[in-house]
């Protein structure tokens, strides 16, 4: 803990705090110490990119924000709601937090349009016609408008991931989590997904992205977080992080990926 160097958020930052994680610790049932006391603050409209070697706990940390993973010590407050064992609070958080997975996880038995409209109809109790209109707009925004009535199995990987992003957006979340969104894509399809994410960032969406894409981090991120061995090693703006990393672990990581 004494070795991490964080850039503390200025106390008078006017933006709302979307995520406030303090001293979060997690042990797996087999005893493995996955998170060893991590802190992170994410403001509204920020794009935070989390990087690190595999096994560093970055995906685990990301997944604690919408309660897909639980934690034993510390506290996490998401959108003003504290994460605890209360089922109602967890459901409330999940309504406001969207997640995009590495494996897309589209529902293969439903059409693209139905993938988008399922959750808003069931969870937010909106009318089907209303949601369908919004869904078609979102599909047009991510460039999949013509495929609305196809099934996920008929789309390419890049198209599927864009549909996944549209599906999360259809719930009108206040925060989007991305768990290595392009790692399972063929290289020629990575760009189309990153462009959509860049658009979202420009429109002011709060995003926390776990990724290996350095170019994306440099262009879009407000801050880069490096994690290793379950701890936050360094937090810095991308220009500072990629050109003049402060921590030896960061320098080691950067030399490995470039």
């Amino acid at each position: 803990m004494t070795e991490t160097m964080t850039s503390h958020p200025k106390a008078d930052d006017p933006r709302t705090v979307m995520i406030e994680a303090r001293a979060v610790q997690k042990w797996y049932p087999n005893g493995f110490h996955a998170l060893r006391g991590v802190d992170l603050t994410v403001h509204q409209g920020e794009v935070v990119v989390i990087m690190g070697p595999s096994g560093s706990g970055k995906s685990t940390f990301l997944r604690t924000f919408n309660a897909l993973e639980d934690f034993q010590k510390g506290s996490i407050v998401v959108d003003g709601i504290e994460l605890c064992d209360d089922v109602r609070r967890i459901d409330a958080i999940r309504r406001e937090v969207g997640m995009v997975f590495q494996q897309f996880n589209l529902f293969p038995h439903l059409s693209v349009l139905d993938n988008l409209t399922l959750a808003p109809t069931l969870v937010r109790h909106r009318t089907k016609a209303d949601v369908q209109r919004q869904a078609l707009e979102l599909l047009a925004r991510v460039g999949i408008h013509e495929q609305a009535h196809k099934f996920p199995g008929q789309l390419s990987g890049g198209q599927q991931q864009r549909v996944a992003i549209a599906r999360s957006l259809c719930m009108e979340p206040r925060l989007l989590l991305f768990d290595e969104p392009t790692s399972a894509l063929d290289p020629e399809m990575v760009q189309e997904v990153l462009m959509v994410m860049q658009e979202l960032a420009k429109e002011g969406m709060t995003m926390v992205v776990v990724t290996h894409e350095v170019r994306f981090a440099r262009q879009v991120a407000d801050r880069v977080v490096l994690m290793a061995d379950g701890e936050v090693v360094e937090i810095a703006p991308p220009e500072q992080f990629f050109t003049a990393p402060q921590h030896p672990r960061s320098r080691q990581f950067l030399s490995q990926i470039s």
Binding site: E82, C84, D85, D86, V87, R88, I90
Partner: protein, 315 residues
């Protein structure tokens, strides 16, 4: 922040389990209570002493010597021996037939392939009981008797039974080194043909699971179709076949209980007679369930051992 207990995600699983557990316990207590009350009213409370009473009925065919004065437990044991007899021979026969029919599905002979397919489709869609009754009442019971019996080298098929070995006709009655009753023969035939079809499907599924590349590689090395099948494909297919055979074998063991329809005195048939005579429903059912369960466990254990032998060593 205090979470009310009904929304606590750690408590909810415990509450659900407690509720389910309570429901199950209450139901069991209710049923058992009724059981004890009704049994004692009928004077039939659980006891095992009746097993030593003389049976009072005969068993039509048995390996162990038995007569009506011997106790019930000996009758049940004779029934068990009969069941084991038919199951063992049935397993061997069904495996042979199933393997033949299953591999015939890959023969280069179109007629053989279609015949195998037809056999499986015919047998799978007709109830086993119907097949057993057919074999017993229509085929075996209509065999001619005495001098008109069907005589093949070393085998005589007559209405009084099947005779194997050195056969001779003495005073209009056939004799042979080994006599098989019609009931046993009918049950065995029905079980073998029925299970054979399912085992054929298992074998076919196992061979289909072997990647096509294995066939191509073997043929391009110059092996004939037969050698490819026996040396390259079948050993790999066994990996998939053996686990599935387990459930087919258990199925055959359980199906042997239909012997009562053929008049063969297997365990179930003897148990049914015992129940009718003593009224000891609970004990008899417990014996039946326990024995069949034990048979299934034995078969599963042996098949698991075989499975370990057959699995290909992987890194």
């Amino acid at each position: 922040m205090q979470t009310p207990w009904w929304r606590n995600r750690r408590l909810l699983p415990l509450l659900v389990q407690a509720a389910v557990g309570l429901m199950v316990l209450v139901t069991i207590a209710f049923l058992l209570g009724n059981l004890v009350r009704n049994l004692s009213a009928a004077g039939l409370l659980l006891s095992w002493r009746w097993l030593n009473l003389p049976a009072g009925f005969d068993i039509s065919e048995t390996l162990l010597p038995f007569n009506a004065e011997l106790p019930y437990w000996r009758a049940l044991l004779a029934g068990l021996v009969n069941t084991v007899r038919v199951v063992l021979i049935g397993l061997v026969g069904a495996t042979l037939l199933g393997t033949l029919a299953g591999t015939a599905a890959f023969s280069s002979n179109g007629l053989l392939r279609r015949l195998s397919r037809t056999y499986v489709e015919l047998v799978r869609n007709v109830p086993l009981l119907l097949q057993l009754l057919f074999w017993y009442f229509v085929v075996f019971l209509s065999l001619p008797n005495g001098p008109a019996a069907i005589q093949l080298p070393w085998v005589v098929l007559a209405k009084s039974g099947l005779y194997l070995g050195s056969t001779q006709l003495i005073d209009g009655v056939w004799q042979g080194s080994l006599r098989i009753t019609l009931e046993f023969a009918a049950l065995l035939t029905g079980l073998i043909i029925h299970s054979g079809a399912f085992i054929a499907e298992v074998v076919r599924g196992g061979v289909t699971a072997v990647p096509a590349g294995q066939w191509e590689a073997a043929r391009s090395l110059g092996l004939s179709a037969g050698q490819t099948l026996s040396r390259v494909v079948l050993p790999q297919a066994l990996r998939v076949i053996v686990p599935a055979l387990n459930s087919q074998y258990i199925s055959l063991a359980k199906n042997s209980s239909l012997a009562v329809a053929c008049g063969y005195s297997d365990l179930y048939s003897v148990a049914e007679t015992t129940l009718n005579q003593t009224g000891r429903a609970v004990e008899v059912v417990l014996i039946l369930l326990g024995t069949y369960l034990a048979m299934d466990l034995v078969i599963s254990l042996l098949m698991n051992r075989l499975n370990q032998l057959v699995q290909i060593q992987e890194r």
